[in-house]
Every structure is written in structure tokens, then in C-alpha cells.
């Protein structure tokens, strides 16, 4: 029986974000709301599609390992025009390349950081795939939300901060790039 992969179920979804970041961040740094991303050059925005700044915000929250729950009021939340499965599928125009694999890494990070009882999920005991993916999305949204908050803080201090061409890069240069140095510990199996 061919059940849908967990990854694919997740990729059909579309994360939410708080509308308060629409004017102050998303529209400033991306072409969100203005049509096809291949007009980016003409407008001079740093990024193309709206989800791109979301991805950046997500990774900021992920690496800091800090989350921020979304606002309860659903009228103050929005989604992007494209579900995750389309993220990174750019046509290579105007000096950009496509980055289709990035979303797989996002998925991996979400699995690592979300406390899902996979055993029960595989048993289909008390939790189903939809619920599991909900939890993954919550992790995703909360990391991104924290990331947006982080960006907002910087903009309040200096509205031009991110116009320095290496401003975003520098955030990611500050994190440790090495893998955790301990090799996989051989955990002894419990005696049956």
C-alpha cells in the first residue's frame, strides 16, 4: 500500500506568519504582493518571493533555538501564495538559481526539533499524520516568528541595517559551523 510520505504531506502545507510583519519586513525585503519575482531587479528588493524572507527568519530562530508562539487572533495571521513544495523552484533568470533541496533540510530540522511520538504515529495510536504535520508546522512557524522578531528589533535600532550587503550573511556567520563533536555514543541495548 502506497501511503503518502510524511514529507509530502508536510510539503503541501503553507506556514502562517503574523501580519504585523507584512509592511515592516516582508514587503520591504521581498516582492511579496507585487507579482512575479522576476521583477526583482527592477525594484531593487533584496529577495524575490515573500517566502524567502520567511526562510531566513526560520533559520535565524532555528539556530538560536528560540521560538515565539504566533498570535492567537487568526485575523492577524496570513500565509504565502505558494505551499512549501514550490519553494526554491525558481527559473534561473536574472542571476538567481533554484534551490529545491532547501526545503528538505527544513523538514529534517523540524523533525529533529519537534517532539512527536513517532512510534505511536507508526502504530497510529493516538496520533495521525495530519496531527504530526500540524506539530511540525507549529515548530516551523514559531521559529520563523522569533526570527521576524529578531529582524524587527534590528530595524528599530537602525532602519538601514539590512541594506548593508553582508548584513544577513553576518547573522549566519556568527553561529558555530561544526557538527557536534561527540561521535554517536554506543548506547547499550536494554536486555530483553
Amino acid at each position: 500500500m502506497e501511503t503518502e510520505k510524511l514529507y509530502d504531506i508536510w510539503a503541501k502545507r503553507n506556514p502562517q506568519w503574523e501580519t504585523k510583519y507584512e509592511k515592516s519586513i516582508i514587503k520591504i525585503f521581498t516582492d511579496y504582493g507585487k507579482g512575479a519575482t522576476n521583477f526583482r531587479e527592477a525594484r531593487g528588493k533584496l529577495f524575490g518571493a515573500g517566502y524567502e524572507i520567511f526562510i531566513i527568519a526560520f533559520f535565524i530562530g532555528l539556530y538560536y533555538n528560540l521560538r515565539r508562539p504566533l498570535i492567537e487572533d487568526s485575523t492577524q495571521r496570513k500565509t504565502f501564495g505558494q505551499p512549501i513544495q514550490y519553494w526554491g523552484n525558481l527559473d534561473s533568470a536574472k542571476g538567481r538559481k533554484s534551490y529545491p533541496k532547501l526545503k528538505e533540510f527544513i523538514f529534517i530540522a523540524l523533525i529533529a526539533r519537534t517532539d512527536i511520538d513517532f512510534i505511536s504515529l507508526d502504530k497510529e495510536d493516538g496520533i495521525n499524520s495530519r496531527k504530526a504535520v500540524d506539530m511540525l508546522m507549529q515548530t516551523m512557524e514559531e521559529y520563523a516568528n522569533w526570527g521576524f522578531h529578531f529582524i524587527m528589533d534590528k530595524l528599530i535600532d537602525d532602519p538601514n541595517h539590512f541594506y548593508k550587503e553582508t548584513a544577513f550573511l553576518e547573522i549566519f556567520l556568527a553561529f558555530d559551523a561544526s557538527p557536534k563533536d561527540s561521535p554517536i555514543e554506543e548506547m547499550p541495548d536494554p536486555l530483553d
Binding site: 510524511l6 542571476g95 532547501l102 530540522a109 507508526d122 550587503e165 550573511l169 557536534k180
Partner: protein, 722 residues
């Protein structure tokens, strides 16, 4: 005429009394720009001005003006003491008075004094000046600035010289007189001939032809004049280009350099730039810190996978126990320490087969010879694999009957994903950090290169500016066009020269034709006897007129020749050990002359250097002065303003010493012998000055002056040498 003393009082920057005692030979007056050199000269010019009574308030010393109280007066004066058939004085002055609105001037005086014995007789200044040092002479004695040195720039200069010194004025009068006779007599003849009906037509024809030819001759002469001027212009332009060949070549080189550097710069700019934000996504730079997350994930999944397999194993065991000893394929051999076995598909069939065939375990490296425990373990595992594959359907049927423990395979999916991460993917992610570092380093390197190129560019631009400053006759446009122009100019020049030759030939023909017509006119046989007499008279007058014309021309030629000879004597002296060559004065059609230089092998020096030019002109001037002396039986001083600024630095003392020895009184006002520095008041180069034989004065602004306040500026005279 020998100048003895000059006193300048309150004339512009010369505050109060300033006395120059002048040597019989050379007096050098040394000053920097703005020190009062030109003012010295202009004071003399003011003194010698006989055309106006100039009491302009602009000539009054600002400093003295500022010192006066209202109602107070003082005077501006320039006095010259000289010897010219006795000791004489010339003084020009006026009073100035401070009032509420400024300063007004009055009481202009121009007086000469004759000192005869003890008596001092005053006479009209203008008269004294004209009788001792008249306007014409002064024209060849006073030279302000280097351009004035080419005396023949002015068309009538030669004519004036010739008129004044060659006594040719008489010839002119005679020529004019005889021309008139010729004309009048011709008119008489023509009138009489016209009365003769027979000849009338002939006469009319000849007359009209003559008038036409004369007109053509006039036109051609103008043409020739223009073309000669053009040839001269070309010569000057070509000279300019040739002189500046070096500058032009350098300019081209600098331009090339600049172009090259700018090309390099644009290339570098491309390499030095990067879209860092796009790279975060497109190049996965945002995954730089991701390795630890991969780690987390793999560990978590590994644990999950193990746990699931354990549960599965336990479940299977339970089923097996419940259903008795069923040979379930899942009933796997126990492992040595009770550990959970690997899933049925790991290691894969190929790996297992390989290990069995080679009788070694390739994970721990220990040998597994046939029949040994490890060998049996491996073969059984392989069989299990094969059974499992074979018994897929059986298994499925069995599974349908038994409700499986695990309905979903998400953990398997995640496990597969985890395994896929190992190897290349993991390595790629780990490399991102170093890729970024390398890239940033590369960009920084390019930025450093860019900085260097910008510096180089700036240096080249500076060099270009320097070049233009040093050659301030030239603009960038000229330098650029130079080489291309050169060929064009020489071609145009050749053409003009050819045209000129053609024109001159035509002129010759026309003049022959005119002469022929005149002869025809003269040979007309009248019937009236009186007319024949008139004709003879006319012919005589014509011959006399021609004779005077020839004499006049000879006179001019002789004068020029004499001038040339004299000039060349001076040229030799002034050049001392240097280039010799000769000066040649070449007559031009409009009765003037050009001063040219020829080298000893007879070819013209088309582009003499600055110092050669100066020496050339000075030689001619000294020659003229000599001729003046001869004709007037009086010597006259030569007063130059800065004529040697184009001489090389080394030549200066030599040059002045030569002039000092010339047995002529010279006063030269110059910037030479000042030591170049940033000082406001430059020092004198005493080493060189001590080698001079002449008198030396230094004029300088008094210290503590304010550039923008004229009343603080005062020229101070310092005698250096006598």
C-alpha cells in the same frame, strides 16, 4: 646717453624714495613675481610718456595714501639723472591729497633740468626727452616682456627702422616726386594721343588693358601676401608640434595607461561584487551552521529506528510464542549479546555475497573462513534475505491475517532520509563554511586589487595634469590631435607653398605683360610731333622713377644686410661656447622682415629653443642699437624686462656676464637667481650672484605684508653689488 640714477617715489608699490644707481655696463634688478619688477618698468614708461599728462590716482602708493590724514598731501615722482652732452635730469611728478572721499591728484609737472656747470636750468620735460631720447629710439630701447623682443612682429617696424636709420627718407620723397612726374607726363601723352583719331582706339585699348593688368597685379600681390602669411603660420604650428613631440608622446602613453587601468578596474569590480543575500538561498549558505542539526536528526532517527525494530522484534517473538514454533521468517537468529539484529535488507545482498565469497567480515575485518561461526551467520543472513524476498507474498498473506503492530512506515521513511544524508550530502553541507570563507577571502583580495588600481589610476591622472601644467601652451585637445594633425599640416603646407610658387610665377608674367603694354604705349607713333616729344619726356621720367625705386630697394637690402652682419657678431658673443649658426633677416613682400635662424650647414633651424630665440632677438636688438649709435653718434641704454626666463638654468650668469662686457648700458629686470622654495620671500642664490660682474639690486616686498591689502605692500630695494 648714459643713465646714472633713477629715483622712484610713491609710485605704486614703491613707497617714499627709492634710488637705483645704475652701472655703465649691466645693472640687474632681481625680483620675484609681485615684488615690483614690472612696476619698475612701468615707472619708466610713465616717465617717458609724452602723449598724456597722466596723474592717475591708481599710480599712487597705497601705503602712503593710507598714512595720510585728511588734508595732508604728498607727491608721486619719478626722476632720472643721465648724461647726454652734459648732465641732465628728467622729472615727472604730481601731488596727491587725502580728502573725505579718498584721494585727489593735481599739479602735474614734467620738467627737465640741464646741469651746466653750477647752474641748473629747467626746461620743458617733453622737449628735453624728445631731444635726448626720442620716441623712435625708445621703441628699440625699452622692452617689456619677452614677446616684445621680436621687433619685427609689427609690419611697419622694419620700415620705421629703415626710415630712421638709413637716411632713406630722401629717397622716398624723390621717388614720390618722380612718380608724380611720370604719371603727369603719361597723362599728357595719353590726352594728346586721344585727340589723334587714328590712335584713339589703340590708346583706349592699351589703357584698358593696362588698367586690367594693374588690377590683376594688385589682386595677386594680396594673394601672395596671404599665402606667405599662411606658410608662416604653418611653420609656427609645425614648430609647436615638433617642440611638443615629447609632451605628445608622453600624453599618449599616459592615455594608454589610463585606458588599460580602467579596463582592469571594470573587470575587478565584477569579481569583487557578490549578491550575498541570494547566495544564502541559491548556494545554501544559510545551511552553514546546519551540520549539528543533521547530527541531531540522525541520532534521533537512529534511536527511533532501533526502538521500532526492537518493538517489532518483541512483537514477532510474542507472535511466535503464541502461535507456537512457527517458522516465521522474521524469527531471526539471535545475535551474540542479545542485541537487536539489523533489518532484513541490511547489509544488502551484494555486500553479503561479497563477504561470503571472500570469507571475511568487511565491517570488523576479521576472517570468516568456510565453516566458521561468522561464516555460517553470514550465509544464514543471506538466506534470510533471499527467503524474505521470495516469501513476500506469503508474508503479506500472513500479515493480513495478523494485525500488524505498525500500520505506518514513517520511521522507515525518516530512516531512509537519514541514511541518504550520510556520505556526499553530509560532506557537502560541512564544506559550506569553508566555501563561504574562501569566497569572502577571494572577494577581499579583489577589493584590495581594486584599491591598488584606483591608486594607479589616480597617479596616472595626476601625471596627465602635471604634463598639462608644464606645457601650458598645450591643451589636452592639441596633445590628442597632435600626431594626426602633423601629417595634415605638412600636406597643407606643401600645397600652399606650391600655390605660392605658382602665384609668384603668374605675378612675374603679369608684370612682364604690364611692361610690354607700357612699351607699346610708348611706341605708339603719333602723327603729331609734339606728342612724340611728350612721349620721350615721359620715358625719361619713367626711367628716373625706376632708378629711384631700385635705389630705395637697394638701400633697404643694404640696411638689412648690415643689420644681419652686426646681429651675427652679437650672436657669436652671446652664444659663447654654444650653438653658433647665423641670423638671417628675410624680407617679406610688405616691406617688413622676418628674423630667422640658420645652422652652419645652411639649413634653417625651424624650431629654435627658447634660449636660442631670446639670444637671436637680443642680437638683432643690440645690432639695431649699434646702428643707432653709429648714425646718431650717441649711445643709448637698453632696458629689458625679464628677457631670459627661457634660458636654461645653467646659462644665466654666463649670459649676463657677456652682456656686461658688451660695452653697452643695459638694465635688466628679472626673476633669475632666486632660489625656488615655499618661502614668501625667496632667497638669492649668492653663489651665482658672486660670479656676476654686473651691478645687482634686489627688489622685494617688505615682510609682514597682507596679500589682500595693498596698503601693506611696499617694495624695498636692496643693493647687492656694485
Amino acid at each position: 646717453m648714459i643713465l646714472e640714477k633713477l629715483i622712484i617715489k610713491n609710485f605704486r608699490s614703491y613707497y617714499s624714495d627709492n634710488t637705483f644707481v645704475l652701472s655703465k655696463g649691466l645693472t640687474l634688478i632681481i625680483g620675484d613675481n609681485g615684488d615690483g619688477k614690472t612696476t619698475f618698468f612701468e615707472a619708466l614708461e610713465w616717465l617717458f610718456d609724452t602723449s598724456t599728462d597722466n596723474k592717475n590716482v591708481s599710480n599712487v602708493s597705497e601705503k602712503r595714501k593710507s598714512e595720510l590724514e585728511i588734508g595732508e598731501t604728498d607727491e608721486v615722482s619719478v626722476s632720472l639723472f643721465f648724461e647726454h652732452n652734459g648732465h641732465k635730469e628728467l622729472e615727472k611728478s604730481f601731488m596727491f591729497e587725502k580728502n573725505a572721499n579718498g584721494v585727489n591728484t593735481k599739479n602735474f609737472k614734467f620738467i627737465g633740468y640741464n646741469n651746466e656747470g653750477v647752474e641748473r636750468i629747467s626746461i620743458n620735460g617733453k622737449n628735453l626727452l624728445e631731444s635726448c631720447f626720442d620716441t623712435v629710439i625708445r621703441k628699440y630701447c625699452l622692452f617689456k616682456g619677452e614677446r616684445d623682443l621680436n621687433v619685427f612682429n609689427n609690419d611697419t617696424a622694419l620700415k620705421t627702422l629703415v626710415d630712421t636709420f638709413s637716411g632713406i627718407k630722401k629717397f622716398d620723397e624723390l621717388y614720390d616726386l618722380t612718380s608724380e612726374f611720370e604719371r603727369k607726363s603719361q597723362d599728357v601723352v595719353t590726352r594728346e594721343l586721344k585727340n589723334d583719331k587714328k590712335q584713339k582706339n589703340e590708346i583706349d585699348r592699351i589703357e584698358s588693358d593696362l588698367s586690367q593688368v594693374s588690377q590683376e597685379i594688385r589682386v595677386i600681390k594680396i594673394d601672395i601676401d596671404n599665402k606667405e602669411r599662411k606658410v608662416n603660420e604653418f611653420a609656427n604650428k609645425i614648430r609647436l608640434l615638433e617642440e611638443n613631440q615629447d609632451a605628445c608622446e608622453n600624453y599618449q602613453k599616459i592615455k594608454e595607461r589610463i585606458k588599460k587601468k580602467q579596463e582592469e578596474k571594470s573587470k575587478l569590480i565584477a569579481f569583487a561584487s557578490l549578491d550575498y543575500n541570494s547566495a544564502l538561498l541559491d548556494d545554501y549558505w544559510v545551511l552553514r551552521p546546519f551540520p549539528s542539526i543533521i547530527d541531531e536528526f540522525q541520532k534521533k532517527i537512529s534511536l527511533l529506528s532501533r526502538e521500532k525494530r526492537k518493538l517489532e522484534k518483541d512483537e514477532n517473538e510474542r507472535i511466535a510464542i503464541e502461535k507456537g514454533k512457527k517458522e516465521a521468517i522474521e524469527n531471526i537468529q539471535k545475535l551474540a549479546n542479545g542485541a537487536v539484529p539489523l533489518p532484513w535488507n541490511l547489509p544488502d545482498k551484494q555486500t553479503m555475497q561479497e563477504m561470503i565469497d571472500e570469507e571475511v567480515c568487511k565491517v570488523c575485518g576479521r576472517p570468516a573462513p568456510k565453516g566458521s561461526e561468522p561464516y555460517i551467520f553470514m550465509t544464514q543472513k543471506l538466506n534470510e534475505y533471499l527467503e524474505h524476498v521470495k516469501n513476500e507474498t506469503n508474508k503479506k498473506q500472513q500479515e493480513e491475517r495478523i494485525k500488524p503492530l505498525f500500520l505506518n512506515h514513517y520511521i522507515n521513511e525518516l530512516n531512509t532520509r537519514s541514511i541518504q544524508l550520510s556520505g556526499d550530502t553530509e560532506r557537502t553541507i560541512s564544506c559550506i563554511a569553508s566555501n563561504i570563507a574562501e569566497r569572502l577571502e577571494y572577494i577581499q583580495s579583489r577589493k584590495n586589487d581594486l584599491e591598488k588600481i584606483n591608486k594607479d589610476l589616480q597617479e596616472a591622472e595626476d601625471a596627465k595634469v602635471q604634463l598639462l601644467i608644464q606645457n601650458n601652451e598645450l591643451t589636452e585637445e592639441i596633445l590628442d590631435k597632435n600626431f594626426r594633425d602633423f601629417k595634415g599640416l605638412t600636406d597643407s603646407n606643401k600645397k600652399t607653398e606650391l600655390d605660392l610658387a605658382e602665384l609668384k610665377r603668374t605675378l612675374g608674367e603679369l608684370e612682364r605683360r604690364k611692361a610690354d603694354l607700357k612699351a607699346e604705349q610708348n611706341n605708339l607713333t603719333p602723327t603729331n610731333v609734339n606728342v612724340k616729344i611728350f612721349q620721350k619726356v615721359h620715358t625719361s621720367f619713367e626711367k628716373i622713377m625706376d632708378a629711384f625705386l631700385a635705389a630705395k630697394n637697394n638701400n633697404i637690402s643694404e640696411f638689412i644686410y648690415t643689420l644681419e652682419q652686426e646681429a651675427n657678431k652679437y650672436l657669436v658673443k652671446l652664444n659663447a661656447n654654444d650653438f653658433h649658426g647665423t641670423v638671417r633677416l628675410i624680407r617679406t613682400t610688405n616691406d617688413s622682415a622676418r628674423i630667422t635662424l640658420f645652422s652652419s650647414n645652411g639649413s634653417q633651424v625651424h624650431n629654435p629653443s627658447g634660449s636660442q630665440l631670446t639670444t637671436m632677438y637680443m642680437s638683432v636688438l643690440f645690432a639695431i642699437s649699434n646702428i643707432t649709435t653709429l648714425k646718431r653718434e650717441q649711445d643709448y641704454p637698453l632696458i629689458f624686462d625679464a628677457p631670459s626666463s627661457s634660458l636654461g638654468y645653467d646659462k644665466q650668469e654666463e649670459y649676463y656676464n657677456l652682456i656686461d662686457k658688451l660695452d653697452k648700458q643695459c638694465i635688466i629686470v628679472t626673476k633669475d637667481f632666486l632660489v625656488d622654495s615655499d618661502k614668501k620671500i625667496k632667497d638669492l642664490n649668492m653663489d651665482k650672484i658672486n660670479k656676476l660682474t654686473s651691478s645687482v639690486y634686489r627688489i622685494t616686498k617688505i615682510e609682514g605684508f597682507n596679500q589682500s591689502d595693498l596698503s601693506t605692500i611696499q617694495t624695498q630695494i636692496i643693493p647687492i653689488k656694485n
